[in-house]
């Protein structure tokens, strides 16, 4: 009876016009106003700044008064000798961060969900969350010391085991992506798993009971109940993550860069800072940033469409 009433009410709500809904639930909509204002002021109005990508920015005349230069910066960027290298590096870093690291947080959440000793579970969760709160500068400085040739812990262990203790990990391009992957994973795995743990807690417990009665093993329950149960969350996060494929994140890469690994550690994000802030070429930097944004948007739209078609999970 109660369930029927809820369904009826929902049907009534969906049929009501926006005006009527606004009138009926005005306090809730009113509470939404500051949030909307925030997004307009902080996210949407600054978007107007992308017009800089088509202008020769003048300090004095400002964004709107500066003369137009059309697609000059885009042309310079796409024909520059650095373009392919930057694109390749950015895509590699994006792939590591968005695709390669993606399943680890899910696996951790699934594992934590199976832990029955609550004390152990809490301690494990806290330990895995902690790195998220450390600043990148501190993490990279720690990494520099741990990996220092001869004097770093890692090299000392290698030396004790009879290997070459002089490996300069941060100066060798071949270690860069591995280090980035390990560092980023260590830092974010715990934090990223929270959302999956929350999704797992929403899975209907009666399904597990039924599966137990049917004689399902833990692994099978994980595979056939938990994972399908959080499929929607996984899908949404994946679609949003794909949008960041061309954004490698500035801070981490910038701090890990050395002349030795520069060939692989120079990405679009570091390039934007280098030419924008350090060389004062704001228009050029905006143009590169715009390319990143547009490609990200296209990727999200395509991914969302594909996901909707094949898995029925989508952002909109």
């Amino acid at each position: 009876m109660a369930a029927g009433t809820v369904i009826k009410e929902q049907q009534v709500h969906t049929k009501r016009s926006l005006g009527k809904r606004l009138l009926k639930f005005w306090p809730l909509y009113l509470m939404l106003v500051p949030c909307i204002i925030y997004y307009i002021l902080i996210c949407y109005i600054p978007m107007g700044g992308v017009v800089l990508a088509f202008k020769d920015y003048s300090f004095r005349k400002g964004i709107w008064g500066s003369p137009w230069v059309g697609f000059r910066y885009f042309k310079t960027f796409f024909t520059s000798f650095d373009f392919l290298r930057l694109l390749r590096n950015t895509l590699t870093v994006g792939f590591i961060k968005c695709i390669l690291e993606f399943p680890f947080a899910i696996i951790l959440a699934l594992l934590l969900n199976e832990v029955r000793n609550m004390k152990f579970k809490k301690i494990s969760q806290t330990i895995t969350y902690l790195p998220h709160f450390l600043s990148t500068v501190i993490i990279v400085t720690m990494l520099q010391r741990i990996l220092a040739p001869n004097t770093g812990v890692v090299n000392q262990i290698i030396g004790k085991l009879g290997g070459d203790s002089g490996t300069f990990f941060l100066m060798d391009a071949k270690y860069f992506f591995r280090l980035l992957f390990s560092m980023d994973l260590w830092r974010n795995i715990g934090w990223d798993s929270i959302i999956y743990l929350a999704a797992i807690s929403g899975v209907d417990l009666s399904l597990y009971e039924a599966a137990s009665i049917d004689g399902c093993s833990k692994l099978k329950k994980m595979w056939h109940i938990t994972l399908p149960g959080i499929r929607g969350t996984i899908g949404l996060l994946f679609i949003m993550g794909v949008g960041g494929l061309l954004s490698s994140g500035f801070e981490q890469i910038y701090l890990l860069r050395t002349p030795g690994n520069m060939s692989v550690a120079d990405t679009l994000d570091t390039f934007v800072v280098r030419i924008g802030l350090m060389n004062g070429q704001f228009g050029y930097a905006t143009a590169v940033g715009l390319v990143q944004g547009v490609v990200g948007l296209v990727l999200v739209v395509v991914c969302n469409k594909l996901s909707k078609k094949f898995t029925e999970v989508s952002l909109w």
């Binding site: 300069f168 060798d172 060389n279």
Partner: protein
């Protein structure tokens, strides 16, 4: 019903609180702004004003100089120096500093926002500094006031109008550029009253570069002054390695350690001068008159291979180029480096003990180890906002600071408080001297607030010009004549004198700011030759070295190197002193 009413009441309350707090935040910032603006205006002078009176106003200065930002007094206008300045000129100061990744990037961001306070003060040794293109753009776009009309009425800055007073670069590229058509927007500080660039004076000479542990020198029985060639330097490193020397922690020393301030590719200037082709930022001219970049000569491989050999044989710290400043200081202080790649005699690690002594310097590619100087030069610069009220008052204020009276006040503080006049020269009081020797920042910066040769509030050491400290004050910096602190610095400069060689002209890359080279500059600014050298030095094989070098050659070509060489070739043909090329 009651519940609904309560909900609505609470909601309204929340929203009202949000709106009120937002409005309060906005109105607060408005108030700050108006305070700043309001205080910048001029008010009437008192009837009994001194001759040095300028105006009763506050000048707001944005400094893009970390030394100034790091030494700002807690209460600027209540230091002895500022109280005296206000008494004599009516001027109060509001100095702002914004820390950031680098001072030049902070400046770029702030100028891009389109607002400048009354004055900006920036680093600007010459027109090759990264700050210059940003300052030039701002000047071109009319953000700075033209002070050319006021210069002739000033006591000190009027000298900038004299024919041979300003360094060539300052005159042609910074202050009186042809394109400005007589206008002057950017004025440099720290111009010497006379050209003494070829005079070596141990009393104020900075002896920089390689320093070696004295105990190692004694143990090996070498004369560090006679290590001049790349081969001799290599042999010395080998001797140190074989000598089994230990650091303070009992670990084996690295024969060659990073520079005291942290790893950097700049240090190649000191460890491989024999393979550095000239001093013009990579460019030079061959005997037959062809202009090239070093990448197109054999020097590039000689340099890379030399350092690769040092690394491969364990003769230098592997983190030589990348070590952060804290650790570099650590390895220097713990004597882990037998040789520091770069430090100078006014750094405490050097003057604080007898542990270190200068090494070399090594010969350059011509077989000479004289230090190349380019003639007179400036150090920092200032520009007055085009929107500042009465810019002539601001110029007068900076002019006052550079008069003999202003310089004395700026550097030594107030007579009778921090110095006394003896035989017509300022001498620090015992208290001030003791505080200077102790490095008591609270006294030097917060109480007195004078420059004290850079040991106090750096602003007042930084913004002076028409300098002649030895003649005016009888010493190169406050306390140098009577302080024991820098006795060792002067002793080093006396014991290891440097010879100087004049090579007039600017680095070739200074001319990249020409309008016709805008696209070339945009591409070239993405290339870093020194980073490429380090990358090649750490390459895993000789083949990889070749690949890195060849790739850079190609990138430089694609960036428009030929166009650039053609441009500077014409310049050099017309004026041999325009670019600092020199041959064997």
């Amino acid at each position: 019903m009651k519940k609904t009413f309560l909900k609505r009441f609470l909601t309204l309350g929340l929203i009202a609180a949000l709106v009120v707090s937002s409005a309060a935040a906005c109105s607060k910032s408005d108030k700050n702004t108006s305070d700043n603006n309001g205080s910048s205006g001029t008010t009437d002078a008192p009837a009994d004003k001194p001759d040095t009176w300028i105006a009763d106003r506050t000048i707001t200065i944005q400094a893009y100089v970390d030394d100034i930002g790091n030494s700002l007094p807690k209460d600027l206008n209540n230091t002895e120096v500022m109280k005296e300045i206000t008494k004599r000129t009516g001027i109060k100061l509001n100095i702002q500093y914004t820390p950031g990744d680098s001072d030049s990037s902070v400046m770029a961001a702030q100028l891009a926002s389109g607002t400048v306070p009354d004055v900006i003060v920036s680093y600007l040794n010459d027109s090759t500094r990264p700050e210059f293109p940003i300052l030039l753009k701002a000047a071109r776009e009319g953000m700075f006031a033209d002070v050319s009309g006021y210069l002739k009425d000033t006591k000190v800055y009027s000298r900038y109008l004299e024919d041979d007073y300003l360094p060539n670069d300052t005159k042609k590229n910074i202050t009186f550029r042809d394109e400005f058509d007589g206008a002057a927007y950017i004025l440099q500080f720290s111009i010497d009253s006379e050209d003494r660039s070829l005079q070596y004076n141990p009393e104020d000479a900075y002896v920089g570069g390689l320093y070696i542990q004295k105990s190692i020198v004694d143990a090996l029985g070498i004369d560090p002054y006679k290590v001049n060639t790349q081969e001799q330097f290599y042999d010395l490193l080998v001797k140190i390695k074989n000598g089994g020397f230990k650091d303070d922690n009992g670990n084996a020393v690295y024969p060659l350690g990073p520079k005291y301030w942290g790893g950097s590719s700049d240090t190649l200037e000191y460890i491989t001068p024999g393979y550095n082709w000239g001093v013009s930022d990579g460019y030079n001219i061959t005997d037959d008159g062809t202009i090239k970049h070093e990448i197109d000569t054999d020097y590039v491989y000689e340099k890379i291979n030399y350092v690769r050999k040092l690394l491969a044989e364990g003769l230098m710290n592997p983190e030589f180029f990348t070590m952060d400043s804290t650790r570099a200081e650590e390895v220097s202080k713990s004597h882990n480096s037998a040789i520091m790649a770069d430090v100078h005699n006014y750094q405490e690690i050097i003057y604080g003990s007898d542990d270190w002594t200068p090494l070399g310097p090594l010969n350059d590619f011509t077989g000479n180890n004289s230090k190349v100087v380019h003639g007179k030069s400036g150090y920092g610069a200032f520009a007055i906002s085009a929107d500042a009220k009465n810019p002539e008052e601001i110029l007068k204020f900076f002019d006052y600071l550079s008069t003999p009276e202003g310089q004395m006040l700026s550097e030594y503080g107030v007579e009778g408080v921090s110095y006394n006049m003896v035989d017509g020269k300022p001498v620090l009081t015992d208290e001030a001297l003791a505080k200077l020797n102790e490095g008591d920042k609270d006294y030097l910066v917060n109480k007195i607030g004078a420059g004290f040769g850079g040991a106090g509030f750096a602003f007042f050491d930084y913004v002076l010009t028409n300098l002649d400290r030895l003649n005016n004050f009888g010493e190169s910096r406050p306390g140098a004549g009577s302080s024991t602190t820098f006795a060792r610095s002067v002793e080093i400069a006396k014991d290891y004198p440097r010879t100087l060689k004049l090579v007039p002209g600017l680095d070739a890359t200074a001319y990249l700011s020409a309008d016709s080279l805008a696209d070339v500059k945009a591409q070239m600014s993405l290339l870093n030759y020194k980073d490429m050298l380090v990358q090649a030095i750490y390459a895993n094989s000789d083949e990889e070295v070749k690949k890195i070098v060849e790739s850079f050659r190609e990138q430089l070509k694609q960036a428009g190197n030929d166009t650039f060489i053609e441009y500077i070739g014409k310049l050099y043909k017309d004026d041999k002193e325009s670019i600092d090329f020199y041959t064997k």
